[in-house]
């Protein structure tokens, strides 16, 4: 009980869940636990079962794409206050890239299987979660598009 109360507080302190109604935070806390990753360890691997998502409390996590014959390409870094992973929300519930701890990383891991069951039973919880995840997904999609635009590339047909 004490553990859940503590997790409840940690969840409430995380920016991703700022303003979360207390009853919803209590529901979520039932699916949460503290997980620590040493630097260099994978948080998850591409193709793996997306059975958890993480609230980053401390440290940096890199999102990486494996490229055959090359070093993994780092496409994003996530910091304290960020959320890691949304593949757990949508079938087939598989991670689409690698996530690796760049430093010592402390997270709150939320059990997605437990949570999906609660989402089905509690539409209000589903709404609370989706209204938090959708802006994050939108920001990251926009960022990915800008990265794709290769803003800093050498101008073609340069004058001067």
């Amino acid at each position: 009980m004490g553990e859940i109360t503590g997790l409840d507080r940690l969840l409430g302190e995380h920016p991703f869940f700022a303003g979360m109604p207390p009853d919803v935070a209590k529901l979520l806390a039932g699916c949460a636990r503290n997980v620590v990753f040493e630097a260099g360890r994978y948080v998850f691997r591409e193709g793996g079962a997306a059975d958890q998502f993480y609230l980053l409390r401390h440290g940096t996590v890199t999102l990486e794409v494996r490229v055959p014959g090359r070093e993994p390409l780092v496409v994003d870094t996530l910091q304290e206050g960020d959320v890691i992973g949304w593949s757990w929300l949508l079938p087939p519930y598989q991670w689409s890239m690698d996530a690796r701890a760049q430093t010592l990383v402390r997270t709150l891991a939320l059990d997605a299987v437990c949570l999906r069951g609660k989402l089905d039973a509690e539409p209000a919880l589903g709404y609370e979660l989706f209204r938090r995840f959708v802006p994050v997904m939108g920001r990251r999609l926009m960022a990915a598009r800008l990265q794709l635009a290769d803003l800093y590339a050498r101008p073609s047909g340069g004058r001067g």
Binding site: E71, L146, Q147, D150, L151, Y152, G160
Partner: protein
């Protein structure tokens, strides 16, 4: 046949002054800095942060280049140049001792004096850090006159970060927030990866009392401005440095026209509300 009259009192603006290259620095694979001193001796011309000069490679042509040195240091005139065309490619091949023509300084400047008393947020993308460096020098030299000072810098890859040694030094200052990100990196890069606009969310500055100076590719500046507005910074507090095809540098030839503005004369530094609507117009 008589020559066209020059604007009264501005005749000197048309005549390049010879400057000798005192030192060449290779900043990046395609980017270099030239320290210039008057070939005939004396002090280099005075300028304000954000202004540019027209640099003339004799027999090849003239290009507008922002001044990237310290406006108050009194040393050589520093220009950081990306080789993107025949004139700048030729300049890349020059060595110390060679002579260039210099006209200037031209254009508007970063409102660093007007920003005193406020938090200062400097957002640079790629070689856009060069025109902002004089503003950074000003903020460092007069640090106590500002609130929080944040430098957010984005580049394509870690190899494309300009002024790495200075960035490290600035990062070591206790009263300066320096946040750097790159668009892509291999695993050995220990810094951030992601677009520079995301850095705007951090820094701990007070958006209601912030002046933001932004320079980089135009798309990046548009999105940076949006991120600043979303954070609560007023339009009147956001300044961008625009780049157009500047030729005469005094607002006569019209090559750099942007709606009602000549970028060479009315810019390159504009307040966001002066140009926001124009930046949304295709091919303007």
């Amino acid at each position: 046949m008589s020559a066209l009259p020059l604007p009264a009192g501005d005749a000197l603006l048309w005549r390049p002054e010879p400057y000798r290259i005192e030192r060449v620095r290779r900043d990046l694979a395609d980017t270099f800095s030239l320290d210039l001193v008057p070939a005939g001796g004396g002090a280099p011309l005075a300028f304000r942060p954000g202004q540019f000069n027209m640099l003339y490679a004799f027999g090849l042509g003239e290009v507008p280049i922002s001044i990237s040195g310290d406006a108050e240091a009194g040393g050589p005139l520093v220009h950081t140049i990306r080789a993107v065309g025949p004139v700048t490619e030729a300049m890349r091949g020059l060595r110390a001792g060679a002579v260039l023509g210099v006209r200037g300084p031209f254009g508007s400047h970063w409102p660093v004096v007007e920003a005193e008393g406020m938090d200062l947020v400097i957002i640079a993308g790629g070689v856009g850090l060069a025109p902002l460096r004089p503003a950074i020098y000003y903020a460092l030299r007069h640090r106590r006159r500002f609130g929080r000072v944040c430098i957010f810098y984005g580049a394509r890859t870690p190899d494309d970060l300009l002024y790495k040694a200075e960035l490290k030094r600035w990062r070591g200052e206790f009263d300066l927030v320096v946040d750097v990100t790159v668009d892509r990196a291999s695993h050995d890069w220990a810094g951030k990866v992601g677009v520079v606009t995301r850095l705007v969310e951090g820094g701990g500055y007070d958006p209601l009392h912030t002046v933001a100076l932004v320079c980089g590719p135009e798309v990046m500046m548009r999105y940076a401005a949006r991120a600043l507005l979303a954070r609560g910074v007023a339009r009147e507090g956001i300044f961008l440095s625009l780049e157009r095809n500047m030729k005469c540098a005094v607002g006569l030839c019209g090559h750099c026209q942007l709606g009602p503005h000549f970028v060479c004369k009315d810019g390159p530094v504009f307040r966001l509300d002066q140009v926001e609507r124009l930046l949304a117009v295709d091919e303007l």
